[in-house]
């Protein structure tokens, strides 16, 4: 206990948990309707594809049809009008642009520099070979098709999977590395061998996590315009990290950073895929600077499926040592990532296996743990971030194995979890992998979820139906979700990355509020939830708050939105800046009302003397005076403040329970119901939280039941349309109930924790465990996803 208290104190001392910075008034906690929705719902929102500039050229990529090949020649001279109406750029033409390399600070990780257009060789079907440009998309497509037909390749042996990648005679993706295995590291926490030696039972499972992808509604897209007069480059990109992208573009193109502006207009979903800088975001701006004309590239759907980053794929071998009464003594896990053709920039190929390894303990008391992480290159599209990075796979493998262990020991799976789960009074808790769980409700979440589905009644009904030859199942998946990626979270996750974020709050002379944030919305509702924080901070209506985001020219520097960081970081920066501006307002109002600023309150846009509401000035009056009245204005009159926040790590938690029925004739799984308990600390907007849970669960459902990016043994992608790559439709989603618990974080401003990934982290295990539970009479063990009807019948032993 004393150690954990120390942890809390250290964290608070280190980070300064100024909870007073956040004021909870009329708006925080309210399910306010989203201010941004009218423009989404009426089609008025403008995405990159909607933007048109004079003299704009349309770019179309020539992409490799081969998984692994040398580029022998690209004869651009076949293009009619080359250099006049049609332009083409190959990797050789962009030789001066440095390749993209990951930013992970680990010495023993091999690097795979990725040219923004392939030079010399291609490493996956879809690797960029050339960019063709013309005044309209039709002409550019025709020219790209023509150029594509004359590229000469010398095919190399494909490396379609990890097994092939690690073979002694495997072709090498990067000859200079001498190996396809770019990382291998084992770390032991506690006394693992002893734990396994004294265990009553050891359960183990191999688990293959499928390759799937974010597939947002809006594909990727970039528009770049270089103004030769001002020597100013403006890049519109469907990105989650506009400021970071600005830094990278400036570095890659050798431009002063203050001459680069990046704008993320409306972004139609990112889910992590649009976090990393992609080669296209460098190549298109480079070409715009070369041609002196605006260049637009809009990815099409086929291109998206083969060439946008994939995610999630890794193999996990997990073993758990237990006593006969179900106490976990130790865990061993091997996590091997299938990174694709390049260890992708920003987060590297470790983004899946390393994050999985560190997060494996989850909400359980696991003191003895050996984690081994490996990563291989293969001739497939690179793996990068997608909602629940690494954590989905870890949670799925762990929760499946724990159910397996419970079944093997004859202990109810809920009870097995209870016996090993951390109690709320054990938090803060330092996990064996170095993650500091700040606070939470692990047992309470489990119990609430089971209560909602009437667990005991379900078990009875399950037994009755089994007698009739019907198979229903219930799956439990408890999770801890690391949120709010700042410097500390990323270090605790296993891939350290420094963090920097700010918000500026300004009250103009009319008393209206403008909030400029470094986090960047791609549909999450920041314009509402962050306005709620500013509105409470300043005592105004959310409709009087305008939120600026996504444009580096009018927002302060910061890292944008990924890894559930915006509520905590955006929220805290806004709250702190609003608190400062509030002080500035009260100083002026104090003089106007002849009262001490400490005695004033701001409510509903009026500044009044506490207890005497009739003595007031409107915020508009105060703001006007603050700017123009030299009698009362402050020595620095601008009503504006910019504040920074880099939060301590914090962890949301919850439990997802799924109910299903398996058609024993066909293996078709019908999902009946999903219950999700979500604890993300102080809730800013419960409606947005609920919607995030729904969305994440649907994406998790897709990964567990339907979505699979399949490559042939020759390295060819087979799922190249949305008829073959199955994203769940509305009719595939059962009713989802969301139950909220609020355990404020003691570490963060306002007790806010991040959220939004838990559904994707937890749903696959809940669904897989539900199917395994339904099929328990057949001794079925789920060892891979997705759970197709074909796989279900195999698990039942009905087909070989």
């Amino acid at each position: 206990m004393s150690e954990t208290l120390d942890l809390r104190e250290q964290a608070i001392r280190k980070w300064g948990s100024d909870n007073r910075a956040i004021r909870k008034g009329k708006w925080i906690g309210k399910p306010a309707r989203r201010l941004e929705d009218p423009r989404y719902l009426t089609g008025a929102a403008r995405y990159v594809a909607d933007l048109e500039l004079p003299r704009m050229l349309h770019a179309v990529y020539v992409r490799s049809p081969h998984p692994h090949a040398r580029i022998v020649s690209i004869d651009k001279s076949v293009l009619p009008g080359l250099g006049k109406t049609v332009f083409a750029f190959t990797g050789e033409d962009l030789r001066d642009v440095p390749p993209l390399i990951d930013h992970v600070a680990l010495d023993n990780l091999l690097r795979t520099p990725q040219p923004v257009i392939a030079i010399g060789k291609v490493r996956f079907v879809g690797d960029a070979v050339a960019i063709v440009l013309a005044a309209d998309r039709y002409a550019a497509e025709d020219a790209a098709e023509l150029l594509s037909s004359v590229v000469e390749y010398e095919e190399l042996p494909p490396v379609p999977n990890v097994a092939a990648s690690g073979a002694s005679d495997a072709a090498l993706l990067f000859e200079e590395l001498g190996t396809n295995e770019i990382y291998r590291e084992a770390i032991t926490h506690g006394e693992v061998d002893e734990a396994f030696a004294k265990a009553d039972r050891v359960f183990s499972t191999p688990f293959e996590h499928n390759r799937y992808m974010a597939a947002p509604m809006e594909t990727r897209g970039v528009l770049a315009d270089y103004d030769r007069a001002d020597q100013q480059l403006t890049v519109w990109s469907s990105t989650q990290m506009p400021h970071f992208l600005r830094s990278v573009i400036a570095g890659q193109l050798g431009l002063p950073e203050n001459k680069v502006r990046v704008i993320a207009p409306e972004v139609g979903g990112g889910f992590g895929m649009k976090m990393c800088t992609v080669p296209e975001e460098i190549a298109i701006p480079f070409i715009a600077t070369q041609l002196g004309r605006p260049v637009k590239w809009i990815e099409d759907r086929h291109e998206h499926l083969i060439a946008a980053t994939h995610s999630k794929q890794q193999s996990i071998n997990l073993e758990v040592a237990v006593t006969n009464d179900g106490k976990i003594l130790g865990v061993r896990g091997e996590f091997v990532g299938d990174g694709g053709g390049y260890s992708f920039n920003t987060e590297s190929a470790l983004i899946e296996p390393a994050l999985a390894a560190k997060a494996l303990p989850g909400p359980y008391r696991i003191e003895n743990y050996r984690e081994e992480v490996g990563a291989f290159l293969t001739n497939k599209s690179p793996v990068a971030a997608y909602r629940g990075v690494g954590w989905t796979a870890a949670n799925t493998a762990r929760e499946l194995l724990f159910d397996e262990a419970a079944r093997g020991l004859g202990i109810d799976p809920a009870e097995f979890r209870r016996r090993n789960m951390l109690r709320s009074d054990e938090l803060p808790y330092l996990s064996c992998t170095g993650q500091v769980y700040d606070s939470g409700s692990y047992l309470e979440s489990l119990d609430k979820a089971l209560e909602a589905v009437d667990y005991q009644a379900f078990r009875q009904r399950q037994e009755e139906l089994r007698q009739q030859g019907r198979y229903i199942g219930l799956g439990i998946s408890s999770y801890v979700e690391q949120t709010a990626w700042g410097s500390e979270s990323s270090a605790q996750a296993g891939t350290p990355l420094p963090s920097h974020d700010n918000a500026t709050v300004t009250v103009d002379p009319s008393g209206k509020v403008t909030v400029a944030v470094s986090v960047s919305s791609h549909g999450q509702g920041h314009e509402t939830s962050l306005a709620q924080i500013a509105a409470d901070g300043l005592g105004v209506d959310i409709k009087d708050v305008v939120l600026l985001h996504g444009d580096t020219s009018n927002t302060p520097y910061g890292l944008g939105t990924y890894a559930s960081r915006s509520a905590v970081i955006g929220g805290a920066t806004v709250a702190r800046a609003a608190a400062d501006v509030r002080e500035q307002i009260l100083q002026v109002a104090g003089k106007m009302l002849e009262a001490s600023p400490e005695d004033l309150v701001i409510e509903d846009g009026k500044v009044s003397v506490a207890g005497t509401p009739s003595r007031f000035k409107t915020l508009a009056d105060v703001a006007y005076a603050a700017h123009w009245d030299s009698e009362v204005r402050n020595s620095e009159p601008l009503l504006s403040a910019t504040r920074f926040y880099d939060p301590p790590a914090n962890y949301a938690n919850g439990c997802v329970v799924a109910l299903c029925e398996v058609d024993a004739d066909t293996g078709v799984v019908t999902l009946d119901r999903i219950v999700a308990v979500e604890d993300c600390g102080m809730v800013i907007n419960p409606m947005i939280v609920e919607a995030q849970v729904h969305g994440a669960i649907v994406q998790g459902l897709g990964g567990a039941m339907l979505e699979h990016l399949i490559y042939s043994d020759e390295g060819q992608p087979l799922t190249t349309t949305y008829m073959d790559y199955l994203v769940p439709t509305f009719s595939d989603v059962p009713p989802i109930e969301v139950i909220s618990i609020e355990t404020p974080s003691p570490f963060t401003v306002g007790g806010i924790k991040g959220m939004g990934e838990g559904g994707q982290i937890a749903a696959p295990a809940a669904l897989a465990n539900a199917v395994a539970d339904a099929l328990a009479p057949f001794g079925a063990r789920i060892e891979k996803l997705p759970i197709t009807p074909d796989y279900v019948l195999r698990l039942m032993g009905k087909i070989g």
Binding site: H302, A664, T721, D724, T729, I799
Partner: protein
């Protein structure tokens, strides 16, 4: 693609087909264009878009049955009380094609001429013993659907022939039909395997006639005649359907693809046949089972249909 024509009559379209070897006909574009954009094949050099040929959108009813123009959309078939009540299996099938957008654009003629083994309308047209009319400058000929389908993506139509209409022959009284398919996803899906069944009940309540056809089970949609032969004269009950369905497996040569393995498909043939027969027989007996049957199957318990 270099040339695009939009004729306004079938005759004009046939003339264009004769003139431009290698031209492809496009109606809704839901197969041709999607496949080209997905990199499965290139867009043809010449496209003849027939959506403006209004004489291909006709509906003719006479004593022989009903003749549907090639441009009849899946959405129309799905909602047609005439098709739904008489040729239910076709309505079941059209209602499952793609999404509402696909069904509004996609046509019956296009579905047939694309000749995917997994097409939903193929098996129903086989059990109805439907035929099609093919038009060229040489004249018109009538071909049974069974003879039209030659292989995966192949038909016996000559390159210059245009499919103008599909005839659904009239059916005897006490006849019901159904199309049932297996799918991974509940919408926007292609059949993993599918089966159409037609059952005519005799006065004695036994099966007087029956036809069974399969989709996604062989290079083309195929009839399962052994199953049909077995069932004639039997009582329309679960046991008979199961026995008949087991024989349907003899007609199949399924493949392994991203959706399912050949083994799974083979194992599922008897399930979908059995389910389609059960719905068809129920409809023949006057039970109202709404279109599409796939989404309105009675609760199934293990072994009841397998």
């Amino acid at each position: 693609m270099s040339r695009y024509f939009a004729p306004t009559t079938a005759a004009e379209a046939a003339a264009l087909l004769a003139e431009h070897g290698g031209a492809r006909v496009v109606a809704g574009g839901t197969d041709l264009v999607v496949a080209a954009r997905g990199g499965k094949h290139r867009m043809p050099e010449v496209l003849i878009a027939i959506h403006g040929a209004t004489d291909l959108a006709s509906l003719v009813e006479n004593e022989d049955g009903v003749r549907l123009g090639a441009l009849t959309s899946h959405a129309w078939i799905e909602r047609s009380p005439l098709i739904g009540s008489h040729w239910s299996a076709l309505a079941d099938a059209s209602a499952l094609v793609g999404s509402p957008a696909t069904r509004a654009n996609g046509t019956l003629g296009g579905n047939l001429m694309n000749a995917s083994p997994a097409m939903d309308t193929g098996a129903p047209l086989l059990v109805f013993e439907a035929d099609v009319e093919l038009l060229s400058l040489r004249g018109t000929r009538t071909v049974p659907v069974a003879d039209l389908l030659a292989g995966a993506g192949r038909t016996t139509a000559e390159p210059d022939e245009l499919l103008t209409s599909v005839r659904l022959p009239d059916l005897p009284p006490a006849t019901g039909s159904a199309y049932v398919r297996l799918e991974h996803r509940r919408a926007m899906e292609i059949a993993v395997v599918g089966a159409a069944a037609l059952v005519t009940l005799g006065d004695d309540g036994r099966v007087a006639d029956c036809r069974v056809a399969l989709s996604a089970a062989a290079p083309t949609c195929v009839r399962a005649r052994e199953a049909e032969d077995l069932l004639r004269g039997l009582r329309p009950d679960g046991a008979s359907f199961r026995d008949a369905a087991a024989l349907a497996t003899g007609a199949v040569q399924p493949i392994t693809d991203v959706r399912a393995s050949a083994r799974y498909r083979r194992a599922m043939i008897s399930v979908v046949v059995s389910r389609a027969l059960a719905v068809a027989a129920a409809r023949a007996a006057g039970t109202d089972i709404a279109v599409p049957a796939n989404r309105n199957l009675p609760t199934v318990t293990a072994g009841s249909t397998g």
